[in-house]
């Protein structure tokens, strides 16, 4: 069944530290008043312009196998390819903050208000991630009662475009999930409009299936530490 999810704005307002960190500001750094004002302005714009909405639909391992394969352009092997066959259950998801916030970011840049544009962009990226995180937690809550020992279950989301899962898989993901229902469309190049959208699969299974050595071909030239941080967080949970 497809679920459309409306978010409470208070749940997705980005944390101020995160917005600053996204722009390379060292935590605890002393900021000029001007920068604080920019930050507060971006938070206000976020609150007035973001229209967060999500869609989620459970998918079987069999169906996901085809979605994952996409147009046959994935790396081989990839972490997701090794993880999903061992899953207990999974769901496709997509979230968006809507078009207005992206338009505002563009307006800022076109008006040479670079600092305002960058601050809002950082806030919107953090907000979209937060919305995806909430979708993941919602799925966790939904499936918890299916398991006798839910503490042993790890629930983690993965997105096309990362870790060797080619972005062209978006086409089949969209075909199955239908994010058009919430206003997300796919370009010919498999990217989403509005830009501040996140899509992917939320995979639930024994925690250990999400642990992997970062020696896949896709890891060779990747400096992103997010996967390692996630794995560590899962271990500690």
């Amino acid at each position: 069944m497809t679920e459309i999810i409306k978010f409470d704005m208070n749940d997705i307002i980005p944390g101020r530290e995160e917005v600053l960190r996204n722009q390379g500001v060292i935590p605890g750094a002393v900021l000029e008043d001007k920068i604080r004002d920019l930050l507060e302005q971006a938070i206000r714009e976020f609150q007035s312009l973001a229209e967060p909405v999500g869609v989620m639909k459970e998918v079987s391992i069999g169906d996901f196998k085809d979605i994952y394969k996409g147009e046959g352009r994935n790396d081989e092997p990839t972490p997701v390819a090794d993880i999903f066959p061992k899953a207990d259950c999974m769901a496709l998801f997509a979230v968006t903050l809507g078009q207005k916030i992206s338009d505002k970011i563009d307006q800022h840049f076109k008006a040479n208000n670079f600092a305002e544009g960058c601050m809002l962009d950082a806030g919107a990226s953090a907000g979209a991630d937060q919305a995806a995180e909430i979708m993941q937690r919602m799925y966790e809550q939904e499936i918890a009662e299916r398991f006798d020992d839910f503490d042993a279950i790890g629930v983690v989301r993965y997105s096309p475009g990362y870790c060797g899962w080619h972005i062209s898989a978006q086409k089949k993901l969209f075909g199955f999930l239908g994010p058009e229902k919430i206003g997300i469309t796919l370009r010919e190049t498999y990217l989403m409009d509005p830009l501040k959208s996140v899509s992917g699969v939320i995979i639930a299974g024994p925690k250990e299936i999400h642990q992997f050595e970062n020696n896949y071909p896709c890891c060779e030239n990747c400096d992103d530490q997010t996967c390692l941080e996630r794995m560590q967080a899962l271990k500690n949970a």
Partner: protein
């Protein structure tokens, strides 16, 4: 304000540019490099720089004052994430380069055609997705077949990209942020 004053005082445009605007941004760049200021402050300074540039641009054209170099930039085909590329463009302009920004989702053909048409000194490519960064190699291959590889510097950047990747695909340089891109390209045009 200060730029208007300098123009009124008939200070040569080249001097306003080199010893005023660009020199100011150089100070900002150094402060940023040493983590004494952060990106939002750099961007506020860039806005002031742009306002000054708007005032002197007609005078630069009148006096036929060249920019220090021309760079074609864009986000690679399949990638819509252009904030990093925009920041690089802002900082390059702030350093006195002419920037031809092709936007996002740029095909190899467009990169190469623009580099040729504009007689660019360098091509700057950006990617955020690990699965689109490989498209940078396609641009370089096309540059080779069009005979402009080696004549036009290739610089790449973006979250999933690193120095090793740049070497693998045959890019001349990797820049982890806009300021580094400015530093590399300034050295390049100086040696040219």
């Amino acid at each position: 304000m200060l730029t208007s004053q300098a123009i009124e005082e008939k200070i040569p445009v080249k001097k306003i540019l080199d010893e005023g605007l660009i020199a100011g941004m150089n100070v900002v760049g150094e402060e940023f490099k040493h983590h004494r200021i952060f990106l939002p402050s750099v961007l506020l300074a860039a806005r002031a720089m742009y306002a000054g540039m708007d005032l002197i641009k007609p005078l630069m054209i009148r006096d036929n004052i060249p920019t220090i170099g021309k760079v074609v930039i864009g986000t690679i085909k399949g990638d819509l994430h252009d904030i990093g590329k925009n920041l690089v463009g802002i900082m390059l302009k702030g350093a006195g380069f002419e920037v031809i920004d092709l936007g996002n989702d740029v095909t190899p053909d467009r990169f190469v055609q623009a580099a040729k048409d504009e007689k660019a000194d360098a091509v700057g490519m950006s990617a955020l997705l690990t699965t689109t960064m490989t498209g940078m190699k396609d641009v370089i291959e096309l540059m080779k077949s069009e005979g402009i590889y080696g004549k036009i510097k290739v610089i790449i950047g973006g979250a999933p990209v690193n120095r090793e990747f740049a070497e693998q695909i045959g890019a001349d340089s990797y820049a982890y942020d806009g300021m580094k891109a400015v530093e590399i390209l300034k050295e390049y045009v100086k040696d040219k």
